[in-house]
């Protein structure tokens, strides 16, 4: 797993793999709001962790290739901006996640599947009964 599950247990313990670094870079780009160069981001990240300039560069290049970052040539360097805000991506993900199983082709396992009104009312009734029977 290149996930944050290990990485998140020790904050600032370094970067584990590109996936984690991509998330860190997107965090920073979203926080800044405006366009940012590799150098600027590298200087920012270097203050907190051991990291190479080329690593930051290739990570941002990857994110550009995947369509997360747009870039414009500014003199010799590229200036990177986020293609969409974090909120827009979240909304897009939630739309896909909340669509009925037939509408989306991604394989998601919901803890509680989408319920129609009837199911939701039944569940509500179960909860009401439990809390009524057992006043705390």
């Amino acid at each position: 797993m290149r996930g944050r599950d290990q990485g998140s247990t020790g904050e600032g313990a370094g970067v584990r793999g590109f996936g984690e670094l991509e998330a860190v870079v997107m965090d920073r780009v979203w926080e800044r709001g405006g366009p940012v160069t590799v150098r600027e981001l590298f200087d920012e990240l270097r203050a907190e962790r051991a990291i190479a300039y080329t690593t930051v560069m290739s990570t941002m290049d990857n994110l550009h290739r995947k369509g997360w970052l747009a870039r414009d040539k500014d003199g010799k360097a590229y200036r990177y901006t986020a293609v969409a805000s974090r909120e827009e991506y979240s909304a897009r993900l939630m739309r896909e996640a909340m669509a009925g199983a037939g509408d989306t082709e991604a394989v998601l396992s919901h803890f509680v599947a989408q319920m129609d009104g009837c199911q939701a009312r039944t569940l509500r009734a179960v909860l009401d009964r439990l809390t009524r029977d057992r006043p705390s």
């Binding site: 247990t9 394989v107 998601l108 396992s109 509680v112 319920m115 569940l123 009964r129 809390t131």
Partner: protein
């Protein structure tokens, strides 16, 4: 020809006949994992029987071909074609055509399956990756949080797979309930339930209108949820799983005391619906004798379904 007919007959009988009894046996989710295995064994058995049937058709054609051509040559050389030779040629031609048709149908099904699973895999990976980038890590859990007031929790296959919670879900879960949700989603991933979902949905797309696959995909998903509930209950206890289900399902915080003790059985009238049925199942006190009987019955069905195609092929061939 006989083994092909027997195998095709078996495949059709299970594909159309097995879903109602299997659904009845697995309805309450007693021994969810065995039930899951029974559905999958039925599917695998039908596919195996179909493949063996096609293979047996080709074997019939190949075995009869030399004698047929000999008879044809003799009758052409002798200038007289007997009705027996005509009948033989007609029969062989029919079997060959059937084999070709069955192969074409199988190829089409395989193509539909491949297209569906490939898309599902790509979409899932993209979703998981986007969730890791757009979500905020929930420290110490490996899960990511998306800002959305609607309570939701899910996992999605990918490299790596992601467990996603909304901020709305975090708002209604207390820490033990959150642990139960995470245990549920981790069980999905650990038991490769996303793979099962992908394969069964692919089969449903490959064989539209065949109840074992269309209904089976939904039943497998339902049983996978119950199996994951069981795993979460082993970690967190049943009351906590129930509280978490109710909290996310209704969007309100559920105090632990509300479901602290076993609830008197019956009267929930919830079994008809997927999520309420899971709540009722978690609240139902275990009944050792009938549960064991259920488990044994399921295991027997599972064994028969898994062994039947090869036995059939061995005895008729």
């Amino acid at each position: 020809m006989r083994p092909a007919l027997a195998l095709a007959g078996y495949a059709a009988a299970v594909a159309w006949g097995a879903p109602p009894p299997l659904a009845l046996l697995t309805r309450r989710g007693v021994c969810a994992r065995t039930g899951l295995a029974a559905w999958l064994a039925a599917m695998a058995g039908v596919l195996a029987a179909a493949v063996l049937a096609i293979q047996s058709l080709f074997r019939t054609v190949a075995a009869d071909w030399p004698s047929l051509t000999r008879a044809l040559c003799r009758s052409v050389a002798g200038g007289a074609c007997s009705p027996a030779v005509y009948r033989g040629a007609l029969y062989e031609g029919g079997v060959a055509a059937l084999a070709a048709l069955a192969t074409a149908a199988a190829a089409a099904a395989l193509w539909r399956y491949g297209r569906r699973t490939q898309r599902a895999r790509a979409r899932s990976r993209a979703h998981a990756e986007a969730a890791f980038l757009a979500g905020r890590a929930l420290p110490g859990t490996g899960a990511v949080v998306l800002d959305d007031p609607r309570p939701a929790a899910y996992c999605v296959a990918g490299r790596p797979a992601a467990i996603v919670l909304t901020s709305g879900a975090l708002a209604v879960l207390d820490p033990p309930q959150l642990a139960a949700v995470l245990a549920h989603e981790r069980a999905h991933l650990a038991h490769r339930h996303h793979l099962l979902a992908m394969v069964t949905r692919g089969l449903a797309a490959a064989f539209p209108g065949v109840p074992l696959f269309t209904r089976g995909a939904a039943e497998v998903a339902r049983l996978a949820e119950m199996a994951a509930d069981d795993a979460a209950a082993r970690v967190s206890g049943r009351p906590t799983v129930v509280a978490a289900l109710l909290a996310i399902g209704t969007g309100t915080a559920v105090p632990a005391a509300a479901v602290a003790a076993p609830v008197p059985h019956g009267g929930l009238a919830a079994a008809a619906y997927a999520v309420p049925a899971r709540v009722e199942r978690m609240l139902r006190p275990p009944r050792p004798v009938s549960d064991t009987a259920f488990g044994l019955a399921l295991a027997a069905v599972l064994t028969v379904l898994a062994a039947a195609p090869s036995l059939l092929a061995a005895f008729t061939g």
